[in-house]
């Protein structure tokens, strides 16, 4: 699908693997953003190790002030910078290369990147110098140094500028290709970008007055309003991640197995549901807070009658069924699961994606619904179950997916061979299993009432003491094991990426491709009224059973608590 492009050939190289035209100016911007993502992840992972070894009180390595400092650092570098820089790279690269079109404004791309990096520097600097011990959420009236808020604002503005170039690139593509539909992968990222705009505007609405308050220009920030609007940034930005990583699932499915959504209309419909329903999630954080009414809570916390959960369940069928359908057409038709057994498990992008789907669905997704229900939130709020949930959703889901797809980006975006490729086979497993153990043990610790964001759960120095159920000792050990495994997995991945990108052998064409790209499977035979993906259907039914059991268990526990109204 060669198309005429403005600006002549000098801006482009033609990818010798995919045949796509790659705008070199966009590629450079994407590369820098990707590098910033990895640097942020490295900071976050080192911080994570220190945090694991502090909360596991057998070691308790950090002193109290550094615990909260490192926790702030970890939260922002992991949950904000690593993921958003990666998404900015993805938005820039895909809206040009995948559409065979040019970068609308390289200047805006660079300006956005520079702003974001300056913001990143300010935030990391203020945290490490002890001027922003306010944790990721910086709930007013806790106050940080003005430069901290300024850094967050600059980062957000930079990100918004790059998101704007994404839309401008799409408009150029539209002009050059009238009447064509976007590829599903880009369509999903567009959903992510739309959610990003709404999210970043929320961020601006709250960070700008908070910045002025920290300077003494505004007298007062209402803590309730702060929390309401801050989570208009905080939670929907996780929905950017969901839309982005589900898009990447479709991409990896295609690259690693040749599979395509068995019904693109359905997949696209699910992305639209994300946009429609997902921006109300601020309520998840206000269920046991004063002032907001039950009607507001129930409507918003359920993403408008669980439309976003519905959308995720649609993808939960659409992605594996794409794999199953491709594999069946290749002849792996025996029984329910031969297609899965014969899947390319040696391909780290595939294994990483599959693990991330399982962890995101079974751990992140199910716990997320329970945490976010109006009543069960009472037994979850601010316990260790909350980070347990988002370890499953964001780390097992988004981070692992991004790590998996990077094995394709190293040759195709950075034009380098993957260093220590033999290792790549194991990395998603080490990281994925580590995170799964970590998430589950944190969730269970939370169910015993262990608080999150807490330096010492023996309450040393307090007027009373309290000892949690001794069973928790076992789960703390599991927590340590899972955390350390995940840290090892992440460090191995970072090592591979850094060595490949900065010191790796150049990638000179398809003969250098280490990670396989699947041939498209033979076309489907028309078979009416038969199940398209019986194996996937079985798996999603299993998921549904687990889901129902978990909701029922939690309401059972809740009913044993004190009465409250």
């Amino acid at each position: 699908m060669a198309v005429a492009v403005e600006g002549g050939e000098k801006w482009f190289r033609t990818c010798d693997v995919t045949g796509f035209k790659v705008d070199l100016r966009a590629e450079k911007i994407a590369r820098l953003n990707a590098v910033m993502a990895v640097v942020s992840l490295l900071i976050a992972v080192i911080a994570a190790l220190l945090l694991v070894l502090t909360r596991w009180q057998l070691f308790h390595v950090l002193p109290v002030d550094w615990y909260y400092r490192v926790l702030t650092l970890h939260g922002l570098d992991a949950l904000v910078f690593w993921i958003i820089f990666f998404e900015l790279a993805a938005l820039t690269f895909t809206s040009t290369a995948f559409l065979n079109t040019r970068m609308s404004s390289p200047f805006a791309g660079w300006a956005g990147t520079v702003l974001a990096i300056v913001g990143w520097l300010l935030v990391n600097y203020t945290i490490l110098t002890g001027n922003a011990d306010v944790l990721m959420t910086s709930y007013a009236p806790l106050k940080a140094h003005p430069l901290f808020y300024l850094g967050m604002i600059l980062f957000a503005v930079g990100a918004l500028v790059i998101v704007t170039t994404f839309f401008a690139n799409l408009m150029i593509w539209r002009r050059e290709n009238p009447g064509q539909s976007l590829p599903l992968f880009v369509y999903g990222l567009m959903a992510a970008a739309i959610i990003a705009v709404i999210t970043i505007v929320s961020g601006a609405i709250i960070y700008i007055p908070t910045f002025l308050w920290s300077l003494g220009i505004i007298k007062d920030i209402d803590p309730g309003v702060y929390k309401l609007i801050w989570w208009g940034l905080g939670h929907p930005s996780q929905q950017i991640n969901v839309a982005a990583h589900v898009s990447v699932w479709y991409l990896i499915t295609f690259l690693a197995t040749g599979g395509t959504s068995i019904n693109e209309k359905i997949s696209r419909f699910a992305f639209i549901l994300y946009i429609v329903a997902i921006n109300v999630a601020s309520a998840h954080h206000l269920l046991v807070d004063p002032a907001v009414s039950p009607v507001w809570k129930v409507w918003n916390t359920s993403y408008v009658m669980y439309l976003a959960v519905f959308a995720s369940m649609i993808h939960a069928f659409a992605v594996p069924s794409a794999i199953e359908s491709a594999q069946r057409r290749r002849g792996f038709t025996k029984g329910l699961f031969e297609w899965l057994k014969a899947a390319p498990w040696g391909n780290p992008a595939f294994s990483g994606m599959w693990l991330s789907m399982i962890i995101f669905g079974f751990i992140g997704g199910i716990t997320g619904v329970v945490n976010g229900m109006e009543q069960t939130n009472i037994i979850v709020h601010n316990t260790l179950s909350v980070p347990g949930h988002f370890k499953g959703a964001v780390v097992g889901g988004t981070a692992l997916t991004f790590m998996a797809v990077t094995y394709y980006l190293i040759p195709l975006l950075f034009r380098k061979k993957i260093a220590f490729y033999g290792l790549a086979k194991f990395v998603p497993w080490i990281f994925g299993i580590g995170i799964a153990i970590l998430a589950v043990s944190m969730y269970i610790l939370g169910a015993f009432g262990v608080p999150r964001r807490h330096w010492d759960i023996t309450f040393s120095g307090g007027p009373f003491t309290y000892t949690f159920n001794p069973v928790t000792d076992f789960f703390w050990a599991l927590f340590g094991l899972g955390g350390i495994l995940a840290v090892i997995g992440a460090l191995l991945w970072i090592l591979q990426v850094v060595v490949s990108v900065f010191f790796g052998k150049p990638f000179n064409g398809p003969q250098d491709l280490q990670i396989p790209i699947a041939e498209p499977p033979p076309p489907a035979k028309e078979e009416e009224d038969k199940f398209a993906a019986p194996g996937t259907f079985t798996l999603v039914l299993l998921f549904m059973v687990a889901f129902i059991i978990f909701v029922a268990l939690n309401y059972g526990w809740l009913s044993a608590m004190w009465e409250v109204k």
Partner: protein, 176 residues
């Protein structure tokens, strides 16, 4: 195809039978969860309240002091112990880094808890029953509790409130 525009006629392609059934199930589950919350809110006994009064740290401190003076029965580790009559209003004050007062309650009786903070956000986490609510400055959050079990309970703070966050632990005693 994820990386290429969709094939001709994609919009009119029939939805496979299993995908249709799954979407039906998933949609029913979504609606069920939604209406379950509403039903629980109407019929069951554990629901977060939204009764809130506007207050100020000074006003709430005065209310709490009056409450303590009225029902004080002793002192423990420098914190007053208060035994309010069943059905009464109970004031719990959160501040960096303590909860006060210590409460002595009677099992099976209702108490109208008022929670507020003098400074930053705090988290009211009742252990080991594991019920968790937020405490804000300037908001008086009213929760009507009925303790259904006797024993010694702790209130720990589970919203980061500063360097002494881990020392913030209070106590509630429930008598038979």
């Amino acid at each position: 195809m994820a990386i290429l525009p969709p094939p001709e006629g994609w919009f009119n392609q029939k939805v496979a039978k299993d995908e249709k059934i799954w979407m039906g199930l998933a949609f029913v589950m979504s609606l069920f969860l939604f209406f379950w919350m509403i039903a629980w809110h109407v019929y069951a006994k554990q629901n977060p309240s939204f009764t809130t009064y506007k207050t100020t740290p000074e006003e709430f401190y005065a209310l709490e002091q009056a409450f303590v003076n009225k029902y004080k029965v002793g002192e423990e580790n420098g914190i007053p112990v208060v035994k309010p009559p069943p059905g009464s209003d109970v004031f719990i004050l959160a501040r960096q880094f303590r909860w006060e007062p210590v409460l002595v309650l009677k099992k099976g009786e209702e108490y109208r808890f008022h929670l507020s903070s003098l400074d930053v956000l705090h988290g009211f986490s009742l252990q080991p029953v594991n019920m968790n609510f937020m405490v804000y400055p300037k908001y008086d959050y009213v929760l009507t509790f009925r303790p259904t079990s006797a024993g010694e309970y702790r209130i720990i703070c589970n919203e980061f409130c500063g360097i002494g966050h881990h020392m913030m632990i209070g106590k509630i005693v429930v008598e038979e």
